[in-house]
Amino acid sequence: MAMRNAYVDQFPSEARLISAAFWSSFLALAIGGSLGLVQALHRTDYLRFIDSVDYYTVLTAHGVLLAITFTIFFLVGIFTWAVTTSLDRGLEDLRFSWAWYAMMVVGTVLVGVSILGGVVDSIDMQADVLFTFYAPLQAHPAFYVGLVLFVVGTWLAGADWFRTWWAWRGENPDERIPLPTFMTLTTTLFWYLCTLGVALSILVLLLPWSMGIVDSVNPLLSRTLFWYFGHAVVYFWLMPAYMMWYIMLPKLSGGKLFSDPLARVVFVLFLLLSTPTGIHHQYLDPGIAEGYKFIAMTNTMFLLLPSLLTAFTVVASMEHGARQRGGTGYLGWLKALPWRDPVFTGMALAGLMFAAAGFSGMINAGMNINYLVHNTWWIVGHFHLTVGTAVALTFMAAAYWFVPQVTGKQLWNRSLALGQVLLWFVGMTFMSNAMHRSGLFGMPRRTAEPQYQGFNFEPAAGTVGEINAQVALGAALLTIALALFLLNMVMTTIGGESDAIPDNTYAGTLSGPEDAPVVLDNLKLWTAIATVLVVFAYTLPLASIIDAGGLFGPGIEGFQLTIGIDPAIVLESVREVMP
């Protein structure tokens, strides 16, 4: 047998753990993604086979399964790969590693079952509270417990990576932190910092309140603590995609990473700025002074910097690779890139869509321009470009390389994989573009039936019907792409072992860590500064919210507006708003 040097050959035990994490992620993607099609067809009124009141249960499941479960299960796999590969050592104790994985699974199951209770009568639970679970909408305690278990699972995963790095550090005291490990550790650090907010919100406010231990909640406080976590979480999903663009794309292009030092600068900037920006999701919230919103906006705008730097480095690295492959000319080098490789093409298209997402994000970030688009379908269009493409498409493309690495089995069908990433790109172009446009004339997000009695939407260009058609078409294409991806993954996994798996490597660098100032590796320093920035951005707003409304709010009890509502009251409400 030829000497194969895939990840599964180097770290067979870790490969099994990563496989398990990937499959948990794919399962969430399968369920959550299919629910997305149900929603798209329902909202646009092409096909309504669920009751509109159940739409919100479906939407909750779609959001939680895709934004939390799919992304985070996949990234714990990638980060485990990154740490072990770049430090060239296994995890310290696989029992510990399986424990955090199991904790994440149990958390997901609890959350999933409590959401499912919204449509299955025999489960006496409900969690129709959407991904954001804004109090005083109240879910079953199992929903909150599940979220806590899941997050604690990720904390332990982070501890596992740190432990591995500390062990390596002991043996290699004078070496620079390898770039993939550096990326993992900085990301983990801001994850610890930001999840503290949501953990406090759940453990101190929401869980005791859902169990009836305290009988009131301060909605603005729990909401602010959610967004303290809620923006950084998007960078938690995004950083593994960035890692792929930094350390895989240059290699796939046939070259090297342009600059290791700037990659470190970028990740340090994300550590510093990911969390003290959350209030930009609350630009339109009462009870928060304008000054705090301005601080959040300034931090957000400066977060453009690492993304703009990434755009430069990634494109420069791709150009370097293309020129190594014989590409010439100002733009002619683009033709020399390996466009037939689904891993490369998927990641490159994901990066391109992220650039578009950057532009709509700049609109969202502008606090007074945000009035026009806040909570409209524009926002949904925006994050289907970010988490729905920059992250999801990069992860799917990465899976075409990673799954063979961790299973030792060759990708079942490479052409199908190429078609799949293209189809995702095309489907998302239709869907996201139409969503963005509809937001500009005020069509709301999170609505089962955006058809109103008293008024019609008035698009400046095009029609509502045409926009709905594009969304439904895009969603259908995305669902087909999703099915093709899963088919390829299943067929690859049930296939036989192959000797033709490429070696487990990542990109070298043109300008290496020796060019990077040593201070960049001082994680304690950056964590301290990140903490100071968070204290600066959040102490005063939180203090004033608690001062005005109290820790537990002014007698605000829970609402489960899916049960116990008298239908007569519903009709009354409906009648009242009719002209």
């Binding site: 509109s52 009141v53 919100y56 804004y134 005083p136 909605p219 603005l220 909401r223 342009f258 600059s259 700037l262 609350q282 630009y283 339109l284 919230d285 009462p286 009870g287 304008e290 906006m297 300034t298 400066f302 453009l304 703009l308 730097l309 420069a316 700049m362 970030a365 502008g366 606090m367 007074n368 321009i369 009035y371 026009l372 806040h374 909570n375 004339f441 005020g442 709301p444 999170r446 609505t447 089962a448 109103y452 008293g454 008024f455 019609n456 300008s511 004033s544 005005a548 409304g549 002014p554 007698g555 605000i556 609402f559 507006l561 509502i565 519903v570 409400s573 409906v574 009242e576 708003v577």
Partner: protein
């Protein structure tokens, strides 16, 4: 640290872009004066909304000149009031709060958009230059009939706008031969005096009274009705003040001593 020249240029351009963004938004705040929803309007206990000075009777109030205040209570799944009317060329400050969960108050296709969080009061001031009709919707999920939560905002031409209210007190029945009174209460929500005419039509008769209602107050206009002129039977009446009218029926019955208890002398 070794940074490529092109990358330095890119870095500088990125910084210019970022600072430029912050500058334009700052200009939007201090130049055109686009203020953010903030904490100025304070907090409120949702259980006390019905006793709150501002929110007990939500609706439109005239502050003076072209300034108005509109208070709105959002609840699952409606706004109170469901329909709002304000004049063009006005400056309207909205105060919105929620009785139950988080909602939004969003005027479709405009930048009038705020979250409505229980415990908090959202305040925003809007200029309405032109007449127009707008939908209002809730864009934050608020329970299973969230998608039915809507309202209406009508900006009417200035000369078609008033805050006049008319309510009429009239007996249903009166004994033939007695006099009775129909009272029109004309209230004026504007700060300026309202000079108008109240008209009563009953049977073949019509009477008019000029009335001046001071700003933010109510006047009573009494019409004396002599049943002798009307005769026995049912008589439809209508009271009209500007575009407002209220109608009813007055029964004049024979005084046979068996009249209903409230027939009496016709006092309302």
């Amino acid at each position: 640290m070794n940074i490529h020249t092109y990358e330095k240029v890119w870095l500088a351009a990125a910084m210019v872009l970022i600072v430029g963004f912050i500058a334009t938004i700052t200009y939007g705040a201090v130049g055109p004066g686009i203020a953010m929803i903030d904490d100025e309007a304070g907090s409120i206990d949702p259980a006390e909304i019905n006793d709150d000075e501002r929110f007990a009777e939500p609706g439109v109030e005239h502050v003076g000149g072209n300034e108005y205040e509109v208070t709105v209570v959002a609840q699952a799944w409606s706004y109170s009031p469901a329909e709002i009317e304000v004049p063009a060329n006005s400056e309207v400050t909205f105060y919105v709060t929620s009785r139950d969960v988080t909602h939004s108050f969003s005027v479709v296709g405009t930048n009038v958009n705020t979250m409505v969080i229980p415990g908090q009061v959202s305040e925003m001031t809007v200029q309405f230059d032109e007449p127009g009709e707008y939908g209002i919707l809730c864009n934050e999920y608020c329970g299973e009939y969230h998608h039915t939560m809507e309202g209406k905002l009508n900006v009417v031409p200035e000369d078609e706008f008033d805050l006049t209210e008319l309510s009429v007190e009239a007996p249903d029945e009166v004994d033939a031969g007695n006099e009775t009174t129909i009272t029109a209460n004309v209230s004026n929500g504007m700060q300026e005096d309202l000079e108008t005419t109240a008209t009563l039509e009953i049977g073949e008769q019509q009477s008019e009274r000029d009335v001046t209602v001071a700003g933010d107050s109510t006047e009573q206009v009494e019409f004396t009705v002599d049943t002798a002129d009307l005769g026995e039977g049912d008589h439809d009446w209508t009271v009209t003040v500007d575009d407002y009218e209220e109608s009813g029926t007055l029964s004049v019955v024979a005084d046979d001593g068996n009249a209903s208890a409230d027939g009496g002398d016709g006092d309302a």
